[in-house]
Amino acid sequence: MARGERPMVPDVEFESYYGRPILKEPTWKTPDVPLYLFLGGMAGCSAVLAEGAALTGRPELERVARMAAAGGAAAGTVALVHDLGRPERFLNMLRVIKPTSPLSVGSYILAPFSALSGAAAASNVTGLLPRLGRLAGLGAAAFGPPLATYTAALFANTAVPAWHEAHRELPFVFGGSGAQAAGGLAMLLVPLDQAGPARRMALAGAVVEIVAAESIVLRRGLVAEPYRKGLPGRLMRIARAATAVASAATVVGGRRSRIVAAAAGATYVAASVVTRFGVFEAGMDSARDPKYTVVPQRERLAARSESSTPQR
């Protein structure tokens, strides 16, 4: 309680219960969850990249991408399990299969993806069972894109205004960001001559991500405010600026300079990380302030009562 401030219900703009949030702030921990989102996105897109590299004969790119897919999945799983209140019960994630739960669906994506990408990476590194390794890699590539984007459903399928109301754009933000990260990581670690697809993937991902993120702000009104304001706003701006810089660098010097490519790649990766933190924090902010819950709902009610007789 703020000293000296009598918590009478404020009359301005909207009413609330002592300014308290209506929604519960998500209990998901940082950095576990934003990191998981990043890792999932990066790993999922890397699997695609790896399979492309394998198909087109880019062994360096393939190896890095396979490692990124497997490593990202493994690290992501660790982050996810670490976030659980009862980590020893992580297997309960596979107890039921619920299409209504992106986390359930995601578990059935993450589990095979982890296994397949791990197998593919192991095969790639050890040279053992190459055919099975390729098969696994193909499987991982199939599960990769859903892995990179389902996390948007994870956020969107909540009552958190900044997430839910952005459910049309978030998959593209996350998908684009994942592609950008996967491409960026490869740019960092793969020689220039094999990194062409990575650069293109990063660049294309960056474009998708920026367009999608920008359209949240443009189209979602008040609930998009947290993406512009405060800590998440800063994070989003930093991420966008970094993405823009990396993209410019990629276009200008990505093909020629290993250093520029590596720097741009690292910047992409970092920007992707920051984007997830930005989105995460935007959701937190929108859950904390009852304004984002009450005002849109009030507007909705007003619109409804204008268009018809009151329902409630």
């Binding site: 596979l94 107890r95 039921v96 299969i97 619920k98 299409p99 209504t100």
Partner: protein, 186 residues
């Protein structure tokens, strides 16, 4: 969960009507067999709330000599089974871990509590009553017979039973102690 793999809820989902796994299929064994703990009570004892004077009826559930639940008795024409927050906290009142269950003794000028055997404590108290009673005994005051002691006083009774108040007043009166009071004066 040492259950048959056939009881994997995913399979139950596929087998039964709960395809989305949101109800029947996801029930655990515990949920299937859940019971209120009161059904296991060895006895249910009729009681009355110890806080205010409305006199709400309580039902006390006992299992293995321990109280497992206290709740209102709907049969009461006074309370109809309802309890206020204090009455609802009765179980916590009687099972409180901070309840003092051993005699504590503070000797004159002492700085700490000490242990004391209950029987010894009773003897010591009886000795002191006898001594103080005699020390302050008064046959008369201003020439009028009083037959009393002003050396011993007592405060309390409103939270106690009628039978207890009766014994207290009876014993004190026979002792000649008159400064016997309770919350009704406060």
């Amino acid at each position: 969960m040492a259950l048959s793999p056939l009881e994997w809820p995913v399979l139950r989902q596929l087998r039964g009507p709960d395809r989305l796994g949101r109800g029947k299929a996801s029930m655990s064994h515990r949920s299937e067999t859940l019971e209120p703990r009161t059904v296991e009570a060895d006895k249910v004892v009729d009681s009355v709330c110890p806080f205010c004077a409305v006199g709400c009826a309580q039902r006390v559930f006992v299992k293995d000599g321990k109280i497992t639940q206290i709740e209102g008795n709907p049969a009461s024409p006074v309370s109809r089974g309802r309890l206020c927050p204090k009455g609802s906290a009765s179980k916590q009142l009687v099972t409180s871990p901070t309840r003092v269950t051993k005699v504590r003794y503070r000797r004159p000028h002492g700085t700490e509590w000490e242990d004391l055997d209950l029987d010894t404590a009773m003897d010591m108290i009886a000795d002191r009553v006898v001594k103080t009673r005699k020390q302050f005994w008064e046959w008369e005051a201003d020439g009028k017979r009083t037959r009393r002691t002003l050396g011993i006083a007592s405060l309390g009774g409103a939270t106690l039973d009628n039978e207890e108040n009766y014994l207290m007043k009876k014993l004190y009166t026979a002792m000649g102690a008159i400064q016997i009071e309770n919350q009704a004066r406060i």
